[in-house]
Symmetry: C2
Subunit: 333 residues, 2 copies
DNA sequence: CTGTTAGCGCATTCAG
DNA sequence: CTGAATGCGCTAACAG
């Protein structure tokens, strides 16, 4: 039963040497007698000595913890991103403190503050959809570096890793138009998210390229709640000319929308089809899955963002904030 | 642009008072002049003073971080549990450092060690299915309290929060037998998990109560990989008397098994049905979902475990390790 | 090669 | 009411 508060001091006293000798022996410092070294290391092992991490954190002013703030852990997209982050951080001895914003500005802001208070060395953020105010980021960045991933804030002060959504949306449109679809609706996200604008641009670019008129009634902004999804899909289905295919902000939107379609007697992939962003694994278990989906490689986004953050934390003097774009891929089912 | 390394010392110098005066003023210590207090607090606010958390951690020998080790973040069951944990911890000012074991003993062991090294105040664990050796827990528990949730280690030294799986399995069996099923297979987990044994007991108890013979060929242990699921469901379907319903260890097993059934030309819920544990949200989007499922309330399990850990950390002298059982609920679809 | 000293930021004792 | 001194555990500069 080893002592939980075993310090170098005690080892030193036990052995009749000084604390600094113990310190040097334990870290294989060159200027130490091999005999002393062995003696110290032996006793330390016997007593299960473990350095007090809090003292080391204090001394080095570093915790080897990074904070991660994201909307929902329960959205598989983000838990996959976390996996990429964990992997990258782990390889450098860092671990991650995770907090959910639940798309709420207040929670996000509180999370950032709390992380700073907990002494993380850096922060990774995927922004809440309700975030309208950026002061919490600006305050935090004076203390530790911040890197955004997926739901990013584009600003020269911040690094950001994100997918080329405009291109992905455009590719999806080309695919659909190539399949003969023209009545294509867009169930987009909230305007607070950068990627909402990008999806819209890809959508419109696609229509324009093939001279298909843009119909405002086919374009819906959602706030990412289930209720709003239900509202908006019903609006689309109530149109005189309901869409034959829907490009959905992500899989969760599509699933809820599909549910409504089915309830209204439509058959998925006959009366109406879906194309989605995310490519969540469980969609492959559906009998009538989305006909195509944009894989955004969340693990890669997370890993790249973690890589940038590591650089920012380890070489702050030379680090230049920058952006990394990961190319999504359209997957046809 | 506030100084990132603003210490009490600087405030003290600026104001021509001593550091201890600043310290007292900032924490509203009783023995301080209200004038001095105001003066100090005003300047501290102006300069955006924030106490150095690492110094405080060091001084108090406490980090307000707890570690959480679980199999997979990407399994929604665990991310829901995390949400319960986060909520409970947050209310007491703690945050969580998350690590995935990926059901691997080595990873789990390394995670525990790493958490200790990172200086967490306590650890929550949902065990890896491959964990055969408990020394990593025993070593860690000398340094910080450990509480298990869901996939628990039952031992008087440890606290544990888990569902009454035996009862839940039994209830499921009664339901199925009541519906007229007798050819009921059990796709169970690995023997390393406590809950595997419990499912088996509930399964057998159910059969026995209604005098249905227990057939060894209907009982399969899986290692929770997709490959093994495919192997075992095929074995079941290849029997002379294939089962009419399968009680599955959890939803992911059922989904993969269903896929194979469909590939083999069976129609779900006509030729073969499933009952599962977990009740993951996306199952409700399936055209032919499991006919019943055991809701285990992972958020509740996580929250209760976090509550026990908080008690263990905050009142270590009086804390008695104990177990909390959360009653699952059979949900009929 | 090893011991002594100093200091990281803060809270807390002990003096005044 | 306030200041000076102490120590938390560890590393590192400085002496010897």
């Amino acid at each position: 039963m080893q002592n939980a508060n075993l310090t170098m001091k005690k080892i030193a006293k036990e052995l009749g040497v000084s604390v600094s000798t113990v310190s040097r022996a334990l870290q294989n410092h060159p200027r130490i007698g091999s005999l002393t070294r062995e003696k110290v290391q032996k006793l330390a092992k016997e007593l299960h000595y473990q350095p007090n991490s809090r003292a080391i954190n204090f001394k080095n002013n570093k915790s080897f913890n990074v904070g991660v703030v994201l909307p929902y852990l329960t959205e598989q997209y983000f838990s996959i991103a976390l996996t990429g982050i964990e992997q990258t951080l782990m390889s450098k001895g860092y671990s991650m403190v995770v907090m959910q914003s639940m798309n709420d500005y207040e929670r996000e802001s509180a999370a950032i503050e709390s992380l700073i208070k907990h002494g993380v060395d850096g922060i990774l953020v995927s922004m809440a959809s309700e975030t309208y105010n950026k002061t919490h980021f600006n305050n935090a960045t004076h203390k530790v570096p911040i890197v955004f991933f997926d739901r990013v804030l584009k600003h020269p002060r911040y690094s950001a890793v994100y997918g080329n959504i405009t291109k992905a949306a455009f590719d999806a449109m080309e695919y659909l138009i190539g399949k003969g679809f023209t009545e294509i609706a867009l169930m987009n996200g909230p305007n607070s998210l950068q990627s909402t604008e990008e999806r819209l641009k890809g959508y419109i670019d696609g229509l324009k390229k093939y001279n298909i008129p843009v119909s405002a009634s086919y374009i819906k902004n959602l706030n990412l709640t289930k209720e709003d999804t239900i509202l908006k899909i019903n609006e689309l289905l109530d149109l005189e000319n309901p869409p034959k295919v829907v490009l959905a902000f992500h899989d969760y939107i599509a699933l809820d929308a599909m549910q409504i379609c089915k309830e209204r007697g439509l058959q998925i992939n006959r009366d109406i089809s879906f194309v989605t962003f995310s490519n969540l694994s469980f969609c492959s278990y559906l009998d009538n899955p989305p006909i195509a989906t944009v894989e955004q490689f969340p693990a890669e986004l997370g890993a790249q963002a973690a890589g940038l953050l590591l650089e920012a934390m380890e070489t702050p003097d030379t680090y230049q904030p920058r952006e990394i774009v990961v190319e999504p891929k359209l997957i046809i089912r």
